[in-house]
């Protein structure tokens, strides 16, 4: 009898390590995209607020495109067509670029809402004390408006973290891709997806808890 070659083997403890590593990659790509995307989003939000009709004609439609087209389509289009214009980015970099823009598009509207949440009389009071336009933005609008829209921003951040799973279609081995690899080998989708789901939960739960405790502190 021919010696049989085994393509399949059961779930082993070292696979947990493999998933853990992938979870770190999910975290890394998320942290990077959310941080840069938030900074850009706040700038876009300010442009939307201050730019009036000029912004409505330029920035707003671009952001609308990125908000409206499914992320998976953006990722595949960007990864495959960027090389045509000379941008040879690996899956990780492509993922960061698209997730960052996507985050920025979502955060822009949150940020604009935050600026609008600070009533003009409050800003006049700040200016009447001699604060410059930028001091008013930094010391009055940012803290007050930021707190008003913080829950919305946390929602965006957690959403982007979960959506980062879509970068797997480019071949980047983050949590979802790692799970698929293991499922192919072990044929144990139920077990592996449960573990993978637990990792996602472990990544987002501390964030939502921390956010809730911040909100409680601010409410005092």
């Amino acid at each position: 009898m021919e010696p049989s070659v085994s393509f399949f083997s059961g779930f082993a403890p070292k696979d947990l390590l493999f998933l853990g590593e992938a979870a770190l990659r999910t975290m890394w790509i998320s942290v990077l995209s959310i941080s840069i995307g938030t900074v850009l989003g706040v700038i876009f939000g300010w442009i939307l607020y201050e730019g009036k009709w000029a912004a409505a004609l330029t920035v707003a439609p671009v952001l609308d495109v990125f908000r409206s087209v499914p992320l998976i389509i953006q990722l595949v289009l960007f990864y495959n067509f960027a090389p045509i214009v000379g941008l040879n980015l690996d899956p990780f970099a492509s993922g960061v670029v698209i997730l960052t823009i996507y985050t920025a598009a979502l955060v822009a509207n949150v940020a604009r809402g935050g600026i609008e949440a600070v009533e003009p009389p409050m800003r006049r009071a700040a200016r009447s004390l001699g604060m410059s336009y930028w001091q008013d933005l930094r010391y009055v609008v940012l803290p007050i408006g930021g707190r008003a829209v913080f829950p919305a921003w946390v929602g965006v951040a957690l959403g982007v973290m979960k959506d980062s799973a879509l970068v797997s279609v480019l071949g980047y081995v983050e949590l979802l891709k790692a799970s698929q690899i293991l499922i192919t080998r072990t044929q144990e989708p139920f077990l592996i997806l449960t573990i993978s789901g637990a990792f996602y939960f472990a990544l987002s739960y501390p964030i939502s808890r921390y956010a809730a405790s911040l909100e409680r502190k601010w409410a005092q």
């Binding site: 009389p121 006049r124 009071a125 009447s128 004390l129 001091q135 803290p143 007050i144 707190r147």
Partner: protein
């Protein structure tokens, strides 16, 4: 000294101030009375440059408020303003509310700014409330906080825009008392107000505004005792 010369202000096609001429001397307390929409609040906004003007000018200690080269942020440090809505910064304690502008605008050290703030809060009777957030203060206390916040910039002039209009009746007294105290200390004040008792007792002069025109100005005895203009007479008859 504040000198207002032939001041015209439009909101779109609405002519809100129609050629105001007015001088306010150092140490003077001027009350501005008149019906809603007569332009009295707008006058204050024009004095500290929160609203642009279309004609005429406002000079504060010789500086044209609306001139292109004027450093308006620096000039506003001379012009403390208290609004109808107190606008306390909700994320800061009373002490931090008052200390913020001295720190970031005047560049005082943190310790120095806090010391000034504590002093001003004691001055307006909030010495016990230094570490309290505005949400835990009454309207009257928040308005006194706003007064302390303006005073912390050590202004030469104080502008009050209906500082008691948004308050519950039982809280009006404490704010008027604080304003009276400032007047007695010699602060130069322009008070847009509906409190006729305050205007009569505290002011050196009272100005009556009617539809964007300063109809009449004079000592309180004249305005309240023997008003010359027909509109002044009618207005005072209605508020009494």
């Amino acid at each position: 000294m504040i000198e207002i010369h032939d001041l015209h202000k439009y909101f779109g096609s609405l002519h809100v101030l129609k050629g105001i001429n007015l001088n306010v001397e150092k140490g003077e307390v001027l009350s501005v009375i008149g019906a809603s929409g007569s332009g009295k609040s707008t006058l204050l906004y024009c004095i500290n440059g929160l609203e642009p003007v279309q004609q005429g000018n406002v000079m504060v200690d010789g500086t044209d408020v609306h001139a292109k080269g004027t450093d308006i942020n620096k000039l506003r440090q001379q012009l403390g303003m208290v609004f109808q809505q107190w606008n306390s910064f909700p994320h800061l304690t009373a002490l931090e509310n008052v200390a913020l502008a001295p720190k970031i605008v005047k560049g005082k050290s943190k310790a120095e700014a806090r010391e000034i703030a504590a002093q001003q809060l004691k001055h307006v009777g909030l010495g016990e409330k230094l570490d309290v957030y505005p949400s835990a203060l009454s309207g009257g206390q928040q308005q006194r906080l706003a007064i302390a916040r303006a005073l912390a910039m050590e202004p030469e002039y104080m502008l009050f825009d209906e500082a008691t209009s948004a308050l519950d009746p039982e809280l009006v007294g404490e704010v008027l008392e604080t304003m009276r105290m400032l007047a007695e200390e010699g602060m130069t004040m322009i008070c847009v107000t509906h409190e006729m008792g305050f205007a009569r007792d505290v002011s050196d002069r009272v100005a009556f505004f009617h539809q964007g025109v300063m109809e009449e100005i004079g000592p309180p005895e004249q305005i309240f005792g023997n008003p010359q203009s027909e509109h002044t007479q009618k207005f005072l008859a209605n508020v009494r």
